[in-house]
């Protein structure tokens, strides 16, 4: 009797630990099952005022955790032609933003989703567009173009917060998705 109870307890415990890991999508693909400090579906929110001001004036202040350090290094060394725009900074500001980006990049973040971004990127590759990373493409591969690029209220995959209503707070949870003109999105 004691034995049965002990075995049941063990089975129950194993089930309890593994079910959430199996349940959450794509863990097998982008390397799950590991312990991260933050199991949330988000990434660290951007709170730095200099970063918000300098990078967030023209576009959403993307979380540094969405690209690896190599990408940010490349980005910051070419600000005079930043996706066709001049985004030059004075030396001091450039240095402080680079430091912030590198310290919080995808490869240094302990947020689960940041790790997935990082794992999807090939070694030695330094993509400049978050929307071109393999993990991003995989996560958005079922979304028809008419909802994003063909949607006048969205127009581009780079406008995270057009659909991810809490993107600026670092949350990319499915429950927070509202596609303008279409509403909720359930994977």
């Amino acid at each position: 009797m004691k034995n049965t109870l002990a075995i049941s307890a063990v089975i129950f415990t194993i089930g309890f630990v593994t079910i959430p890991a199996v349940w959450s999508d794509d863990d097998h693909r982008w390397g799950g099952m590991e312990e991260y400090k933050h199991r949330s579906t988000g990434v660290a929110a951007v709170t730095d005022t200099v970063y918000r001001e300098e990078c967030g004036s023209c576009h959403m202040a993307y979380s540094p955790a969405l690209l690896p350090a190599s990408s940010w290094m490349k980005m910051m060394s070419g600000l005079e032609n930043h996706f066709g725009d001049n985004a030059e900074l004075d030396t001091e500001t450039e240095r402080s933003i680079t430091d912030l980006l590198l310290a919080n990049s995808a490869d240094r973040s302990d947020y689960r989703r940041a790790r997935k971004f990082n794992r999807s990127i090939q070694y030695n590759d330094a993509p400049l567009r978050i929307s071109e990373t393999p993990y991003f493409l995989h996560e958005h591969d079922e979304i028809p173009n008419r909802m994003v690029t063909g949607n006048p209220e969205v127009t581009s995959f780079s406008h995270c917060n057009a659909c991810h209503t809490r993107a600026e707070q670092g949350s990319f949870n499915e429950h927070d998705i509202r596609i303008p003109g279409y509403g909720r999105w359930d994977d």
């Binding site: 004036s57 023209c58 576009h59 959403m60 996706f83 066709g84 725009d85 001049n86 985004a87 030059e88 900074l89 004075d90 127009t155 780079s158 406008h159």
Partner: protein, 134 residues
């Protein structure tokens, strides 16, 4: 008799003082541009340049200040590429505008380069400041 008079002076001069304080950045920059060769600063000239169209070989072939800021300085604009909202340029409706020298110079450098394909001259910057300060 003297005390009410003093109160009157304080009340009247306080708003004027704060307006002056807000414009320090513009005054300082205008003086600096003058010392670098800007003469006969003209708001009309600034307006003309603000509305002028420039050609580019890259994305968005026709570029103007109004491409993002709109013609109306008191209205909010929209970034032509990212669609991000841009607060109005006129300090009369957006008191934060034109109060920070460093910021003014940063945006002159970035936006003159994007729009005109080169940095603005001190004369052009002085004309712009006078035109924008509405």
């Amino acid at each position: 008799m003297k005390t009410p008079y003093m109160i009157f002076v304080v009340l009247v001069s306080t708003p004027a003082h704060s307006v002056l304080a807000e414009n320090t950045a513009i005054d300082t920059l205008l003086q600096s541009y003058a010392s670098q060769g800007a003469t006969e600063v003209d708001a009309e000239q600034g307006k003309h340049l603000w509305q002028k169209t420039f050609q580019s070989n890259s994305e968005f072939a026709e570029r103007r200040c109004a491409s993002c800021h709109t013609e109306d300085l008191t209205a909010p604009g929209k970034h032509i590429k990212t669609s991000k909202l841009i607060e109005p340029m006129a300090p009369s409706v957006n008191p934060q505008r034109l109060t920070d020298q460093k910021k003014i110079e940063k945006w002159f450098k970035r936006n003159c380069t994007w729009t005109m394909g080169r940095e603005c001259t001190v004369q052009e910057k002085a004309d712009f400041l006078l035109y924008l300060n509405k």
